[in-house]
């Protein structure tokens, strides 16, 4: 069964391209244009990985990330921040952000896919606390 990825991004254009790139890799992609919409989707369905933009109107990526980390059911879902505010060398994000990775939007497609694969593999080996 294909891994499910939740993609949170308020730029519809970039979201569409990124979603296509992920689908081409065989992932099942759910899209949200803001933090609020993402939480709605999360309450209905748990993804295997979350990719979120940082600065968004409404609920931003930081709040969303902290929210999932505070929820026992969502805590272990790998969380990738993909932001224009992260520089290509990985710097530029406050250290207290509890995401698994922070990536620049300038990251290459292959690097991003590689990282997603690693995180998904890693999380499969980890014990799940929600009983699964």
């Amino acid at each position: 069964m294909a891994s499910k990825i939740l993609l949170v991004e308020d730029d519809p254009n970039y979201r569409a391209v990124l979603a296509l790139a992920l689908e081409l890799q065989g992932y099942s992609v759910r899209q949200a244009l803001g933090g609020q919409k993402a939480l709605e989707l999360l309450s209905r369905e748990q993804p295997d990985l979350i990719i979120s933009d940082l600065e968004m109107s409404g609920m931003d990526g930081r709040t969303l990330c902290k929210h999932t980390r505070g929820d026992s059911g969502l805590r272990n879902i790998p969380f990738i921040i993909l932001s224009a505010f992260v520089d290509p060398d990985g710097s530029g994000v406050l250290p207290d952000l509890p995401a698994d990775r922070c990536l620049s939007k300038q990251v290459s497609n292959s690097q991003l896919l590689q990282l997603i694969k690693e995180l998904l593999d890693g999380s499969r080996k980890m014990p799940r606390f929600n009983g699964e």
Binding site: D11, Y14, K37, E55, G58, A84, Q106, S108
Partner: protein, 606 residues
């Protein structure tokens, strides 16, 4: 105008204070000098008059001496006469009045001149003979002072009040020479008197050129004055009570409208007791003419000096305060942030030094200001650059990801279409951003103002921007009176509304309502754009209209509100956030109803 403002609220200008104190000081000095000169001159003039009076008086003395001398000579001549010897030398000789009158007749020619009284006494003072045409002499028994003259065998003169008349007496001893030394005997005393009457007074006046008055006590006996002024003069002089003092006295008085100096000289009897006094009047007309001449000249010189002093002190005060006024103006301009106006004061003197120090300060502030502006500009450029970089990353990432997929993935025609569209949109967005950036960096708009209805203008923007695809779940309510017209550059106005609507859409990613209201308010049109979003965060409110204040939000350039505000201001209007904290955003645009663009005609050229 500038000067008037300097003084506002202060009582006097420094210039006026300096001017007043200089003037006051110099006027006081001038007045003091004039007073000193005047009093010195007047004192001198008085002194001169007094000297003249004294000269007159000694002239009178000389007249009296002369008369006394004449009487003495007569006495001597009589003493040597055999008839006189017969009458007075022999005690048995007849001394009846008739005999003596006959004797005197011999000397008549010499006696009659100015002699109004003849008395002859024996050596003991007993009256032998008394004769006067005017005075009643019947009661005279003894001749005062005759005994002393007889004893000392020396003539004397004195004054006497006799029978209601004032006389000047020359008392001469008639001496019988015995032949042996030291045993000459005084046979008799001869007295010749001259009445002090109008004739005497006129005679004196003729010789000394001054009026004279003879007084005994308060009573005037005779004077050289005209009868019409005599009474008044007598009263005035009597009031001065010259007779009370034994010494000579003087006083100033006015007789018949003329200033006179009166000099009183005591007339004493043979025992030195005061009998009366003679008053010599000397006109002060000459002195007062001199005084007036000097006064008027002093006045002229004084007035000229005062005027000159006032002028000079005014210019001095002006010279002192003018640079200060320049400084005040310069300081005020500096305070208003006008660092360009040079403070041009000549560098001499303390104020000049202050001015050049001030000028140095101005220059260094100006330089500092330039550095500050440059730094600020650099900071703005840095902020803009940072904003551009962040905002370009999203479309750039879309383009690069799409390109990667084109190169490396097997794509269906639909997928190719999606990616191609994405790339086009991303490129368009980057192009739009660059265009706005360029426009914003130019800062000034060339407006093509046209009067047009407001409602269709806004409707067009709304229909273009708010479509179900771009803004799902967003409803727009427009409450714009159809008759409302505005004078705007259509393209810019559309851009302004577009930016505001984009801002509202970004605040409501998951849908909501936008209300657009417009109304006419006096000379302006007011347009409110209200959305149902979460409102403007407190930390953003202050910098909301600054470039890149909301950097990082997808879909915006970070310049939208800054551009909208600059368009409103270019139309002579305002763009403000009128909603309170936490409330849904309410942006208000105010545009003047009758706006004329200054650059409207140049639009085609720009």
């Amino acid at each position: 105008m500038e000067d008037a403002r300097i003084d506002k609220g202060r009582s006097l200008k420094l210039r006026d204070k300096l001017f007043l104190s200089y003037s006051l000081l110099s006027v006081v000095i001038l007045l003091a000098a004039a007073w000193a000169i005047n009093s010195q001159v007047v004192a001198q003039a008085r002194q001169q008059v007094r000297e003249e009076m004294k000269a007159s008086l000694s002239l009178y003395d000389a007249v009296w001496e002369e008369q006394a001398g004449r009487l003495s000579a007569l006495g001597m001549a009589m003493a040597g006469s055999p008839i006189v010897k017969t009458i007075f030398g022999d005690p048995r000789a007849s001394r009846d009045k008739e005999t003596i009158r006959q004797m005197l007749a011999e000397f008549d020619r010499r006696l009659s001149e100015n002699v109004d009284l003849v008395l002859i006494s024996d050596s003991g003072g007993g009256i032998i003979y008394a004769e006067s045409p005017n005075a009643d002499l019947s009661r005279i028994q003894e001749l005062p002072g005759a005994r002393a003259v007889a004893e000392h065998q020396h003539p004397a003169q004195s004054f006497i009040l006799l029978g209601g008349q004032l006389f000047h007496l020359a008392v001469t001893p008639v001496i019988l020479h015995s032949g042996s030394v030291g045993v000459d005997n005084t046979m008799a005393v001869l007295v010749a008197g001259s009445e002090l009457n109008r004739r005497t007074a006129l005679e004196l006046k003729q010789r000394a050129h001054s009026d004279v008055l003879f007084f005994a006590g308060d009573r005037l006996y005779a004077s050289s004055l005209e009868p019409e002024v005599e009474m008044q003069a007598a009263k005035t002089i009597a009031a001065l009570a010259f007779g009370r003092e034994a010494s000579d006295q003087s006083a100033e008085l006015t007789i018949a409208g003329e200033d006179q100096l009166a000099f009183a000289h005591q007339l004493s009897d043979s025992d030195g007791r005061p009998v009366g006094y003679v008053v010599v009047l000397h006109s002060l007309a000459g002195a007062s003419m001199l005084f007036h001449a000097i006064s008027s000249r002093l006045m002229l010189v004084g007035t000229t000096s005062v005027v000159l002093t006032l002028l000079v002190s005014y210019f001095i005060a002006r010279r002192i305060t003018r640079p200060i006024e320049f400084l005040v103006v310069g300081a005020r301009e500096l305070g208003q942030g006008k660092y360009e106006s040079r403070i041009d004061v000549s560098p001499s003197g303390e104020i000049g030094q202050l001015a050049s120090a001030f000028e140095q300060m101005r220059q260094s502030i100006k330089q500092g200001q330039a550095v500050l502006l440059r730094n600020e500009r650099l900071a703005t450029v840095g902020q803009m650059a940072s904003g551009i970089i962040h905002d370009l990353r999203s479309p750039l990432a879309a383009v690069s990801t799409a390109a990667d997929l084109f190169a490396n993935a097997a794509l269906s025609p639909e997928q190719r279409q999606i990616l191609a569209n994405s790339q086009v949109r991303a490129a368009q967005r980057m192009g739009a951003m660059l265009k706005e950036l360029l426009e914003f960096s130019r800062g000034r708009y060339q407006l093509k103002i046209e009067e047009q209805a407001l409602a269709p203008l806004i409707s067009y923007v709304v229909s273009e921007l708010i479509t179900p695809e771009v803004a799902p779940g967003v409803t727009v309510e427009m409450r714009i009176p159809p008759e409302l017209r505005v004078r705007v550059d259509g393209e810019r106005a559309r851009r302004m509304f577009e930016n505001l609507l984009i801002n509202s859409l970004q605040a409501m990613p998951e849908g909501g309502a936008i209300t657009i209201r417009a109304s006419e308010d006096g000379q302006k049109v007011r347009i409110n754009i209200v959305d149902s979003g979460s409102g403007i965060p407190l930390q953003l409110r202050e910098r909301l209209f600054e470039p890149f204040a909301s950097v990082g939000k997808s879909g915006g350039t970070g310049l939208g509100l800054a551009i909208a505000r600059s368009i409103a201001e270019a139309h002579g209007g305002l763009l403000t956030l009128v909603s309170a904290n936490e409330e849904p955003a309410d942006f208000c645009i105010e545009l003047p109803l009758y706006f004329e663009a200054r650059h409207g005609k140049q639009d085609s050229a720009g």
